[in-house]
């Protein structure tokens, strides 16, 4: 199965958690070695985000991310695992499990530009 692992910045972590975090290089080595790391995206900070929506026919452009919460998404890794337990195991080896939060979400479908959803979907 393929999962998206959202890497979330969480200001609430402590120095002790920081100190306990494993190195990110170790995670990459482990994942690439297993062939479990498919893709990754690292994002610019939330201060660079722009939110776009159309309501009642009016375009609304606002500064900042789509939620007001203190936590924000810093990146996404696409990983391949046998099941959720394996994905959790891989998440626990990531430094951001200690220094932030990780959200694991199964991927519904993944494709390139030629793989657009059909009009009926």
């Amino acid at each position: 199965m393929k999962y998206a692992m959202f890497i979330v910045i969480d200001p609430e972590t402590t120095e002790a958690d920081d100190a306990a975090a494993p190195s990110i290089d170790g995670w990459f080595d482990y994942m690439i070695d297993k062939g479990a790391y498919l893709q990754g995206i690292r994002l610019q900070p939330k201060s660079d985000a722009t939110t776009v929506r159309v309501r009642d026919g009016k375009v609304l452009i606002t500064d900042g991310p789509f939620t007001e919460s203190a936590e924000w998404i810093a990146g996404v890794a696409v990983i391949e695992c046998k099941d959720l337990d394996e994905a959790i195991e891989q998440a626990l080896k990531h430094n951001m499990a200690y220094q932030g939060r990780l959200e694991i979400r199964p991927i519904h479908s993944m494709g390139g530009p030629d793989d657009r959803p059909k009009a009926t979907e």
Binding site: Y3, K82, D83, L84, D85, A87, I88, E89, I104, P106
Partner: protein, 410 residues
């Protein structure tokens, strides 16, 4: 295996009950579909009810499984869209699957999937109950006092997440087993307390305690080396042994020191205490072990006055070190009040953490301590607040009775 028409229906019912979970577990593993598994199992039961009285009852669930599995194949065959799955399934169903050890494992795998921490807590408890007992959604809804619609959505969400999020039906590897089994035990204990707190309402709710004990027996059977599982089984057997004594004639909750100990189920107490035998006493105790120790100290006291409150206080101390909860802190205080007197406990009450004061139980505890210490004038208003905050009718009746027993309050 000789046909016996006179006793066949009973035997069939017994075999159906006994093999239920094993059959469902294997069918869920094969199909990945809880509903299809249950439908096919029921269908197999119907066939068995026709066949077995004539041909005799097979004594192993494997025989059962083949009927139910053929049914799975029939259904999937008819679902044309699932042709691909069918070929996978045919590959998966090999005679090797008939080994009974594989079936034992499937039950545990199913439990680990239903109790996965990635699922919402209420969903875990409901799906475990439904899968293990085969109750209808309506019955499960009644057991948890929610509407059938709410329950059916809850079950659907839980089953959908198991499928979509890739929660596997497997026993976790040894290094994760300890954490994951805690999740399974927590669901079993939730199921139990749901039934145990039901002093009124549909009888289904009380049956939850039996289901929880049955599940713990299964886990102990499958993972005999897991001490906390055995401790939980003991804890539930001992608590449940007081079932008949804990509600008074007028439906009021009876505190343990006032219960008629002749009503305690002695066989169940012995069974509970036997389950604990063999757990090494010197190793650090887990939370169920400590709670079981408290329950055992009550169960073995011939009279309320001979209770070893000192050891109970020490068990609660150890428990607080692992689980800092207001309910445990209050229970420790009650035990301490019997060891050192209610005045000492009243002195300590304000020193407890803030969340203890916020706990609804704290008013009842304070009122009771005031009454026992003879501070009648203060006890009366404290009982009035406690009555208002009572969570169940039986608790309210008990507190109201206590209030009326105070001469000035009547």
């Amino acid at each position: 295996m000789t046909p016996d028409r006179a006793t066949a229906p009973d035997t069939v019912a017994g075999a159906v009950r006994h093999g239920r979970l094993a059959v469902v577990a294997t069918l869920v593993r094969l199909t990945g579909d809880f509903d299809l598994a249950e439908d096919c199992r029921q269908d197999a039961v119907e066939r068995a009810l026709i066949k077995w009285p004539i041909h005799g009852v097979p004594d192993k669930p494997e025989a059962w499984l083949s009927v139910a599995r053929n049914r799975v194949l029939d259904v999937l065959r008819r679902r044309r869209t699932e042709l691909e799955r069918l070929s996978d399934l045919q590959a998966a169903i090999r005679p090797a699957d008939d080994q009974s050890c594989a079936i034992e494992d499937d039950r545990l795998k199913l439990l680990f999937a239903c109790c996965h921490q990635a699922l919402p807590v209420a969903g875990r408890v409901a799906l475990t109950l439904k899968t293990v007992t085969g109750l209808s959604t309506r019955e499960v809804a009644r057991a948890f006092l929610v509407s059938e619609t709410t329950m059916s959505q809850r079950l659907l969400r839980t089953k959908t997440k198991i499928r979509n999020a890739g929660i596997a039906l497997r026993v976790p590897p040894a290094d994760q087993l300890a954490d994951r089994i805690d999740g399974v035990l927590a669901v079993i204990y939730l199921l139990f307390t749901e039934g145990y707190s039901a002093t009124e309402g549909p009888p289904l709710r009380e049956a939850l305690t039996r289901d929880a004990i049955g599940l713990a027996l299964l886990v102990v059977d499958l993972l005999p080396a897991h001490d906390e599982a055995r401790a939980l089984l003991t804890l539930m057997l001992l608590q449940d042994s007081r079932r008949r004594a804990r509600v008074g004639r007028d439906g009021e909750l009876m505190p343990i020191d006032e219960q008629d100990r002749a009503l305690w189920d002695r066989d169940q107490i012995s069974a509970g205490l036997r389950t604990l035998v063999g757990i090494p006493p010197d190793q650090p105790s887990g939370p169920y072990r400590l709670q079981a120790a408290v329950a055992a100290l009550h169960a073995t006291a011939a009279r309320a006055e001979s209770t070893d409150w000192g050891r109970i206080v020490r068990a609660y101390d150890a428990l607080l070190a692992i689980q800092d909860s207001p309910v445990i802190a209050l229970n420790r205080l009650i035990a301490l009040s019997f060891r050192d007197g209610p005045d000492r406990a009243l002195e300590l009450l304000p020193t407890l953490q803030e969340d203890v004061a916020a706990c609804p139980l704290s008013h009842a505890v304070r009122a009771d301590l005031l009454r026992r210490a003879g501070h009648v004038a203060e006890a009366i208003p404290a009982y009035r607040i406690a009555v208002e905050q009572a969570r169940t009718d039986s608790e309210r009746r008990f507190l109201a009775r206590r209030l009326n027993e105070i001469p000035q309050a009547a």
